[in-house]
Symmetry: C2
Subunit: 318 residues, 2 copies
């Protein structure tokens, strides 16, 4: 199933199942409430649905099978929001080797410092930093160019959303803890990243600014995604293909990543873990950067398209 | 005021005002509810109190002035919990120059790699990474030694808790956005840190494990703390002084840090931002590490003592 968060007219945020072929989204609470039985609490939000576990998924599947017309709305008549507007956390890995190689060449061109060899540790375990879970926006939301940057970029990433909580999860069990997958556009201020990299503390203000993390358009459940390590990915700017690749090139699989992160640490439902950038899935690797008004479309097979425009506020304005 | 989260007998988590001289904590909801008027929602949790803003603070001050005996309990009869069991976020800076110098010498001894000079960027703006907000424990909770580490350490840090939300906060306004200050013990797996440092993504599993972030014993409000840049800090292990210093040595003040972090980014109440380690405020700088069963006491002037024991679970056990 594809789960979306959406609003309609002036209404609140609803959770729905998307049927792309039909061009519709089914509001789960509305579907369950027809007949006056009231909607179960786990249809109240995406986090509630995730926390509702197998029972919530089964109930959603039942409503989707019925697809009552009075709770179904054309996708063009609703606004699709970030599927998880406030993830419980947002981890971002860096597990595509060629992205690292390509990016290091560009850092060298920008700073004059030769690239360090990829450390052996990179091959042995996934690294990650944590992003700002409050900066999440959904599809078609304008991303705000931060005032301190002149060099803005996007990053094409595949992200998993944890479902069933767990600790010390074995790699072979890890995907059973994943609720589903979505697209992540990790907007990045490259000039701030040049400043931050020598600090060795990971990305901070280069990634942390309001609206800087786009997620969506919806979450595709693990059973529907098929093999998450075999998805084509493509990035377009103003309709022009800039780059892309496949999740098959992840040196550490999502199963390995989830297992590693959960060592001695309890993962919660609604935590998001992203892959890092697919090779050529950002402007940096190509020596190209965004201009104000550019529209970035990220497409991942079996999920869909995440589209965002970047806008540059006037100085002193909002 | 000093605000604590506490439990008593089998009861739920309450928010209280601590009077150290009296040796008592006043339960705010219980104090407000006596007389049958019911307790305001902002006394339901520390986050609710913080979100309640000036009105909540004024109401708490009023209850503390009355100090009704039937809502006051001896500190020895309650269990003090982490003041914020789930901060909205947990940022950790590194703003003490001498800590960086001392630590780099030890990294050199451990890895054979000579220390890099401190980058100019370090002096110009604070760097930070984000910790795991779910791994927070309070005073006197046993911290669990992660299975993947042989070299465990503590870190003595001063932390601020954001109160009033804001974005693009000027340094001169920044402390008015700080609800208060508490002590942070950032337990660290140094051998994992050796592995992670070359990745350049900041601390990950070296800091991320259940129970690894101790906060407490309570939050001292900004008006009571006086000058947050003039607090003596001391670390003791099993009663022996290992090191300490003063927050006066922070190269970037809390005002500067809060202002910097808020650039183009909205800070929420209940977000925690820590200073990083005071020089000699961890074992690494001294070439010493923790042993299972060690009791770490961190003391900061005007706040109190945060005490935690580190325990090493048997392999295969819980």
């Amino acid at each position: 199933m594809k789960f979306a968060s959406f609003t309609r007219g002036g209404g609140g945020v609803a959770v729905g199942v998307v049927d792309v072929a039909r061009g519709e989204v089914l509001g789960l609470a509305a579907a369950a409430a027809r007949g006056g039985r009231g909607a179960p609490a786990f249809f109240a939000s995406m986090l509630a649905l995730i926390d509702g576990g197998d029972a919530a998924l089964a109930a959603a599947r039942e409503e989707a099978a019925r697809w009552p017309a009075e709770a179904a709305f054309a996708l063009k008549d609703v606004r699709i929001l970030a599927p998880l507007p406030e993830p419980r956390s947002l981890r971002d890995c860096l597990v595509f080797e060629q992205h690292l190689v390509n990016a290091q060449k560009q850092w060298e061109a920008m700073t004059g410092r030769p690239p360090a060899p990829i450390p052996e540790a990179w091959y042995q375990r996934p690294g990650y930093y944590k992003g700002n879970r409050f900066s999440v926006v959904g599809p078609d939301v304008d991303v705000r160019w931060p005032s301190y940057s002149e060099l803005m970029d996007f990053e094409l990433e595949l992200a998993c959303v944890i479902g069933k909580p767990g600790r010390d999860i074995a790699p072979e069990d890890a995907l059973s803890h994943v609720f589903g997958f979505t697209i992540f556009n990790d907007f990045s201020a490259r000039d701030m990243q040049v400043v931050e990299r020598p600090l060795g503390m990971g990305a901070a203000k280069s990634k942390d600014f309001d609206t800087g993390n786009a997620l969506g358009p919806w979450i595709v459940t693990t059973d529907e995604i098929g093999d998450p390590q075999a998805l084509r990915m493509e990035a377009r700017v103003n309709g022009e293909r800039w780059g892309g690749g496949t999740s098959a090139d992840m040196h550490h699989s999502f199963a390995a990543i989830v297992s590693f992160v959960s060592r001695d640490e309890t993962l919660r439902g609604g935590e998001v873990i992203a892959s890092g950038t697919v090779p050529t899935g950002c402007g940096l690797e190509l020596g190209r950067f965004l201009n104000p008004g550019d529209v970035v479309e990220l497409e991942i097979e079996r999920i869909g398209v995440l589209r965002n425009r970047i806008v540059r506020p006037q100085r002193g304005g909002n």
